[in-house]
Symmetry: C2
Subunit: 128 residues, 2 copies
């Protein structure tokens, strides 16, 4: 039985399966520890590899390199090669990366809210 009304607290079996698939599809492309963070780092402006690595706490060169390749392959990032006195490579967001804006917005709002809650709970001496 499909419910017509969408209720946050309860999904029908069909809605639940559709949402499970959609979330699995999203996480397949932008899941993991780093991809969304690389995209956010590039929101401040185009960056070279070393600049990105400095900005993203804890990422190794090997992982950053692999993640950038996947982001390029999936159409979120463009790799620009400038050849002047020396060759420089810069990474730039594509227009398609903007489709992630509401994901980034809700995730960062939630992260800030949750951190605040955990901080308050620790202060009050109870964890949840």
């Amino acid at each position: 039985m499909e419910k017509q009304e969408i209720n946050n607290q309860q999904l029908s079996v069909g809605q639940c399966k559709a949402r499970l698939n959609a979330i699995a599809d999203a996480l397949h492309v932008i899941g993991g520890k780093w991809k969304l963070r690389i995209i956010v780092a590039l929101k401040e402006g185009n960056k070279r590899f070393n600049e990105l690595q400095r900005l993203i706490d804890g990422i190794s060169a090997r992982v950053l390199s692999a993640e950038l390749k996947e982001l390029e392959l999936n159409g979120f990032v463009k790799r620009n090669v400038h050849s002047g006195m020396s060759v420089t490579v810069e990474y730039e967001l594509t227009a398609y990366s903007e489709t992630l804006d509401s994901v980034l917005q809700s995730l960062s709002e939630w992260g800030a809210m949750h951190k605040d809650k955990v901080r308050k709970s620790l202060h009050e001496g109870n964890l949840v």
Copy 2:
């Protein structure tokens, strides 16, 4: 220099760092392949361990068990033990898990949109 105006396309250095931290905080708690999917599966109603495992494609019992423990620890899931003729254990979402609704909504909308785009691109013979 802080920009007053928030522009999707460009964040100031300060905004970018704040957002990077908030997203890292969020992914620390709800990142990974499974946690959000377990929460979505429970949106359809309380479930036993085996029901959850059947609903979430590809998760092993060992991983599901570990993920449920973490979700419980972080206040998203409640473990209910019913002792009747035999003891049954059911997992239930807490009220706090509802704070993730907009994350789940934006992520599943994006996943559905992206899958549709990839399908169309493949049909047209170009990937991005």
